[in-house]
Symmetry: C2
DNA sequence: CTCGAATGTAGGAGTTACTCTCATTTGAGA
DNA sequence: TCTCAAATGAGAGTAACTCCTACATTCGAG
């Protein structure tokens, strides 16, 4: 009895999806139990019943296993689905809210655990900038499209950078994954940081 | 004949400073010649005439050797030295300009080479987020002080995040270290991204 | 100036993430 | 069932780091 996401796929693909999921589950379990640094790829492989070499066929590195993000694409899609006549910030806000409410409780927990893990391990925290740059770029493209500007124009990129930076600024270890905080960030951004008018 | 920075230090400290500088120089030379990934710590150690174990006493990792930043503290100090009655963005702009103009051509070249190296090596690029967070935090503290707000308050952090994010957004591989680009970012920020008023 | 205490260094052994290669297995399609 | 391509496992190899121990150098006190 294959799961819903798996319909229409051959046995091969289904097995691959499962292996991938198993590796991730086992890894996250071990990380939670013993810590990221104390868990070796060999142990993960053993728990997932694959060979170490197979591990690296599924994930390019131990870091990426944690960092690959299922959420970003959802957020982006939801952003693009917002009516074109909304101001960018409003569209962004709504898509954020929708992404949060659409998430199953399990998904939410998984995502929160993931974010906390990333925050707590310097190695992972570090490797996140690439993801951040990707996010900025995707958002910039979305913004450019929405405003009828050429993709990659500097204004859209500045804008996207500013929004992401604002959110980054308000998040801390206690509020890693909080819709409230992110909304608050957008509020401040929208108000144009009015406290610096000398 | 000790160099200027070295006066008033014992022989021990002076030697340490020199060793550290030598390691960095040799490393950057080798990176430029053969590439980052193709240069091993062993080779750097050999070129700097130290043992590999000693390398790790001077730098916690091969990455950090490249990432440690002499520029940030200068920028921060210069920011704090700006008259208190200037608007934050103006103060920021001036301190940025001053940091650039104060730099010797050699320093500028070194810094530019460093930034290009970081941009071109995924491993290094990734490890930069921690630096970025530090920058945001320092700027946020500076901003808070300047505005007479409690250190670490959320508005200052959002603001600092937004500014840094804006700059991050406008920089690309061709404009890694460009005062022009950064100034442009501040312009856009200051104007409040006026193109999203629906 | 000398001696003992810090401090710094070299060398080596060990761990782990990751790469490459090759032989074997397993699923897809005829 | 048979054949081909894709997936896996096993093993050897590399390089970044860690830890430990023995030796050398510098410093400060008497």
């Amino acid at each position: 009895m294959p799961a819903e996401q798996e319909v229409g796929l051959g046995l091969r693909e289904r097995k691959k999806l499962r292996t991938r999921a198993t590796i991730r589950e086992q890894a996250m379990r071990l990380f939670a139990e013993k810590g990221y640094g104390e868990t070796t790829v060999e142990q993960i492989a053993e728990a997932a019943e694959i060979s170490p070499s197979t591990f690296f066929r599924y994930f390019p590195s131990k870091e990426q296993l944690v960092l690959v993000d299922d959420l970003d694409p959802i957020m982006i899609r939801s952003f693009q689905e917002q009516p074109a006549d909304l101001p960018v910030l409003t569209a962004l806000r709504r898509s954020m809210e929708r992404a949060f409410t659409d998430m199953s409780p399990e998904q939410f927990d998984r995502e929160q655990a993931r974010q906390k893990l990333i925050r707590s391990v310097p190695e992972l925290r570090a490797a996140q900038l690439d993801e951040l740059q990707r996010t900025i770029k995707m958002l910039a493209d979305g913004v450019a499209e929405r405003l009828g500007r050429p993709a990659g124009d500097i204004e859209s990129r500045a804008f996207a950078g500013a929004v992401v930076g604002t959110i980054l600024g308000v998040l801390d270890d206690e509020h890693v994954f909080s819709l409230d905080r992110m909304g608050r960030a957008l509020d401040l951004f929208e108000a144009g940081f009015p406290f610096d008018k000398s």
